[in-house]
Amino acid sequence: MKLTQLSLFLENKPAHLKVPCRALADAGISIMTLSLADTEQFGILRLIVRDWQKAKEVLENAGCVVNTTEVVAVEVEDRPGGLADLLDIIEKAGINIEYMYAFTFGRGDRAILVFRFEDPDEAVTKLQAAGVGVVEGVSLYSKGK
């Protein structure tokens, strides 16, 4: 269902992406998926990890600025048109997508996508009403191993 995503502010300079990744690595925390938004000046690194509280603590101790955001994980069929069909549903439901990215692993013939909606609760309700498979955090994490 709703997942907690960590977002980090990074300066757009060499080696600045490495600091948080190394900190997580040293703490034995695996990144389940990520996306990086970049501008000329700065970047925003968004991360999904299993234990976000611990990861946040590790990152803050490494001197990073960390924010948390609620995102929604949705399961679609891993076939041509899987995403396009889902976007049709989202469009009809009148939900605006701030951004989205995909998980690096699938579940057999299914793919998992991460959506950032302005109002995640409203989005979850509407998606479920439309019969879309919103993934529970617990089941997602158990599949990620």
Binding site: A37, I44, G63, V65, N67
Partner: protein, 443 residues
């Protein structure tokens, strides 16, 4: 046995008696001292004698306080040229201490004290601390730098004479400062305001919230600071923050101080005679108008200074103060004219930028102004350290913040600045004075 519990405010302390002198008595005292100091400078310091002769003025011409306007100004450059001991009025065997200000360009400026001068300095520092609500029995952590800088020793002797317990920490070594503050139960801290905010932030990182400690008063000075920074210091430290003003050329800290009303700073005018002048023309401004503060030391034996140009911009507050002190008040110094920079023909003070930043909600005072020149056009960049409060997960939210900051600055000073957001702790923290402006332009 010192009591560790105090009522707020505190009773009258006899050391502060001169703060409450009736005006006629105060003026008589000032005139007697002015006559003495002008004569002393004329007879013992060739620089002052020469300037007075050039102006055709003799000590006998000083018959009223207004006659001070007949005298020459003394500039910072005059002190530099007299390096090291050229402006001393006392023989070296009577001088018990020297201090020197950091020389930003070339040689430092040296100042001297006889024992009598040290006693005056201690007296005005005691009166300063009393004015901020400090008492005998307080534990004062003195984080002003000890050494040639006047801040450390000035606050130290004042705090001791008050009857407080002094922790002579000096500046820097922040983690140790925090440990000592906590373990010794300091309830007063003396340092620069920017350093205090730095210390408070570091304490939070180490898991110590200063609001949970006995600390209740900060006596902050040695750099100009805005009301926004005061709020920040008070919030993060759980303290009352007071502004102390001073400069080594005059005596050090303890030239002027806030009182409980916090509506300007009282100048200890029984020792330091103030004038407010137009920095362009040198003429005295109308009462209450802004101008440059000029000070004449009325009792300094070792190194009397006549009409010293402080480069600090302020104005007199003519109304009587609610605290009952009769000595005059000046508005807080928001800017030093030597902090000022000119960009594209506009005079800019870092404090104006700071005020603009603090208007934008949720931004911290850690910033730095970088001036560069590209193709003969001056560029101003303001770098901010990002905090979790000011950034979101979308690019739009960050760009929006940049626009808000850019607009706030432009509407304050009329110059467009490039806004760069940087990671936390990437701007160098001040251990002493805050370095707010980096000027990379040539010439």
């Amino acid at each position: 046995m010192k009591s560790k519990t105090h009522a707020s405010g505190g009773g009258f302390n006899p050391t502060s008696a001169p703060d409450y002198l009736p005006q006629t008595q105060l003026r008589e005292l000032q005139l007697a001292r002015l006559k003495f100091i002008v004569k002393r400078a004329y007879e013992n310091v060739p620089f002052h004698r020469q300037r007075m002769e050039e102006a055709g003025v003799t000590p006998g011409d000083i018959q009223s306080l207004e006659d001070v306007a007949k005298l020459h100004f003394t500039m910072k450059d005059d002190l530099r040229e007299a390096y090291p001991f050229g402006l001393f009025a006392s023989p070296m065997e009577e001088i018990v201490r020297v201090h020197a200000s950091s020389g930003t360009t070339g040689k430092p400026t040296v100042v001297a004290y006889t024992q009598e001068d040290i006693n005056v300095w201690t007296n005005v520092m005691v009166r300063s601390l009393i004015s901020c609500g400090c008492h005998r029995g307080d534990i004062i952590q003195n984080a002003y730098g000890y050494g040639l800088f006047t801040g450390g020793l000035g606050a130290h002797y004042g705090a001791e004479a008050l009857g407080a317990t002094v922790i002579p920490m000096s500046g820097g070594n922040t983690d140790r400062q925090i440990m000592i503050m906590k373990d010794f139960g300091a309830n007063v801290i003396t340092c620069t305001p920017s350093y205090f905010v730095h210390l408070s932030e570091r304490a939070l990182e180490l898991g110590t919230d200063l609001r949970d400690l006995p600390l209740r008063i900060g006596v902050f000075g040695a750099e100009p600071w805005s009301d926004g920074l005061r709020q920040r210091a008070e919030e993060i430290g759980g303290i009352k923050a007071y502004d102390i003003y001073g400069l080594s050329e005059i005596i050090g800290p303890g030239v002027a101080i806030e009182c409980a009303m916090q509506e300007g700073l009282h100048i200890f005018e029984d020792h330091f005679y103030p004038e407010i002048i137009d920095p362009e023309t040198g003429k005295t401004v109308a009462p209450g108008e802004e101008g440059e503060l000029v000070l004449t030391t009325l009792s300094k034996v070792a190194m009397p200074l006549l009409r010293y140009r402080t480069r600090d911009m302020t104005r007199m507050i003519p109304e009587a103060c609610g605290c009952g002190r009769t000595i005059c008040r000046i508005a807080r110094i928001g800017r030093r004219s030597d902090d000022m920079f000119i960009i594209r023909g506009v005079n800019v003070y870092p404090s104006q930028i700071e005020a603009a930043i603090l208007k934008v909600e949720g931004t911290s005072p850690h910033y730095q102004i970088v001036l560069t020149r590209a193709k003969d056009l001056d560029q101003m960049e303001v770098q901010f350290e990002v905090t979790p409060e000011m950034f979101g997960d979308t690019v739009g939210s960050v760009e929006n913040l940049q626009r808000t900051l850019c607009h706030a600055i432009e509407s304050t000073i009329g110059v467009r600045a490039k806004i760069t957001l940087v990671e936390p702790h990437s701007i160098e923290r001040s251990q002493g004075k805050a370095k707010r402006v980096i000027d990379k332009r040539e010439g």
